[in-house]
Amino acid sequence: MNMKLPKLTFWRTVFVLILISGAFATYIRIFGGLGASTNLSDEFPWGIWIGFDILCGVMLAAGGFTLMATVHIFNVKEYKPIARPALLTAFLGYLLVIGALMFDLGQPWNVFRVMVTFQPRSVMWEVGWCVMLYTTVLFLEFLPIVFEKLRYEKPLRILHMISVPLIILGVILSTLHQSSLGSLYLIVPGKLHPLWYTPMLPVLFWISAITIGLAMTIFESTMSARHFPGHSLEPRLIRGLGGIMMVFLIIYGVVRMQNLFSRDALQYAMQPTYEATMFWAEVALGFAIPIALLMFRQIRESPVRLYIVSILVISGFLLNRLNVAVTGMEGSAGVRYIPKWSEVSITLSIVAVGIFLFTMAVKYLPIFTHGHEMPAEEKSQDKLTPTIPVPVG
């Protein structure tokens, strides 16, 4: 663990290669414009930078508000050890989403205008405000972790005082913009394929965000246990998450299928089209197979199997967001959109930077330990904290 020079491992090589291609793509994006760096066109103005970086990015960061609500509002204390990793994922996630948006915007320097304009009729305006405010909330929720590390007692107490209203505000803001990312598409009834267009889009986006919040927590806890030994979550708690996730999957599945049925849109799923194939892939991966698997006790009670189910759920809902943003819009546009290499490499670079920042934060900040509030855990924190000179303030 204590190597001076980082060894050149496979993943580190991949990481460096991704960043090099990302830097090159960034150069093309800045000096060549969107035309040179993307396969976007007048017919297809939104690609994976919106479909994946924004829609999927925000969805994957939903673990933050889900866990903060579970632990601090519903007071389910057992999940406290994973509240911080979830918070970190959310905070980094939103920072990266904002960063990714700068690539997609044609005139990113004008983004501040969202803050000086009053445009309550625009879903984008509302999403912009929510994301800005929620990122601030996440920053304030995250700050105590840094203060704890630096032993800044006084500001820590102030932040602790406002923590409850802050968490409530965070849950409300998340509810608003997670659903609003679905509302973005309500204005295109003539363009989005009927398998995805429904007035229920905001509700479906919100339920799936919570579901993914739970799936990501299972996924991350298992990954963390593998890479940071000693930080594994009790199997009982993973099982608990799996149980709640199953409930939300069933709710989502019922609402989604009932909605298709009542809009008479299931007929489109029965036709041998590209859209129907993608729809069934989304349904199968996202909730049909996971619900079927979770019916079995052996799967529900095994953390490893729950981890595999969570990967299925996450892939299925990633596909759902991409289907809304890309697959469902291709028919009316009359073109097939396949992202350019530079779009992919910038997206991969953003993911890589996210993983890197997460690793660094875990290494240097008390993420997996709660030193401040729980005296019982203080000892373990002392053991794990690397001996770095700590400024006392």
Partner: protein, 250 residues
């Protein structure tokens, strides 16, 4: 007085004078190649579509009464002006391209090749004073007319009722997406020229507006419910603690 265009397809001879005049008006290039392009692009904000049997239809920004593009724009770079035109302010635009996605007629186009790109679309010559546009001035047959929307609508109704055999009994833009400032009458169904036919009289912004109207409810109800849950779950703890302490005392 709201500036509008009435296009009578039965009078159009497909001479493309309007295209050339429009390019000149907007400082855009125009040559043989551009004339042949049958679509709007960053350098062409109007074109003449060809239908069956040498019929023609102009395509341009419809300047909706309640435009989807202006309603979705988070920075008010697109605005429906009281004078009629849907105006675009490029210096305000952040380039999210939501207007392009939202427009039911897929009108706004983008300067993809530029490092500092803008949206391009017909401005209904909003910068010119008086009831005139470059395209209408250039039209040799009077197929494109400019005037007040109410008067043009009356004129369209008059033409249809006087020549029921010539025209379809439909003014495109009278009701579509809540009405548009560009009105069209034709002998050939509008779908033949690629105009969308699935839109009813509901302005599209109402679809998102219905959801956005719930935001205050989510904030207030959400705040009260979450605060209440917090109070209950933590109150239980305090009560349990007090009861325990009392037990210990006895």
């Amino acid at each position: 007085m709201s500036k509008a265009i009435l296009f009578d397809a039965t009078e159009c001879i497909g001479c493309l004078e309007c295209e050339g005049a429009c390019a000149q008006q907007n400082g855009l290039p125009y040559d043989e190649t551009i004339a042949q392009a049958k679509k709007m692009s960053e350098t062409k904000v109007t074109y003449v579509a060809t239908g069956p049997d040498e019929t023609y239809m102009r395509r341009l920004c419809m300047h909706c009464e309640d435009p989807a593009c202006a309603s979705v724009c988070p920075v008010e770079a697109l605005v429906k002006t009281p004078e009629g035109p849907v105006a675009y302010y490029g210096d305000k635009c952040m380039g999210c391209r939501y207007c392009m996605v939202a427009c039911p007629f897929s009108v706004p186009k983008y300067e993809w090749s530029k490092a500092i790109p803008r949206v391009t679309k017909c401005t209904l010559c909003g910068d010119r004073t008086g009831m005139t546009t470059g395209c209408a001035e250039a039209c040799p047959t009077g197929a494109t007319m400019v005037g007040d929307r109410t008067q043009l609508l009356a004129e369209a109704h008059r033409r249809i009722s006087q020549n029921p055999g010539t025209y379809l009994n439909h003014i495109y833009g009278e009701d579509e997406v809540g009405g548009t400032s560009v009105l069209m009458i034709s002998a050939v169904p509008f779908g033949e020229f690629g105009l969308p036919t699935q839109y009813g009289p509901t302005p599209l912004p109402q679809l998102t507006g219905a959801v956005l109207a719930h935001i205050p409810d989510v904030v207030t109800v959400g705040g009260v419910v979450l605060g209440g849950i917090y109070w209950i779950t933590h109150r239980r703890e305090i009560v349990a603690k007090v009861e325990n302490d009392e037990k210990d005392e006895h």
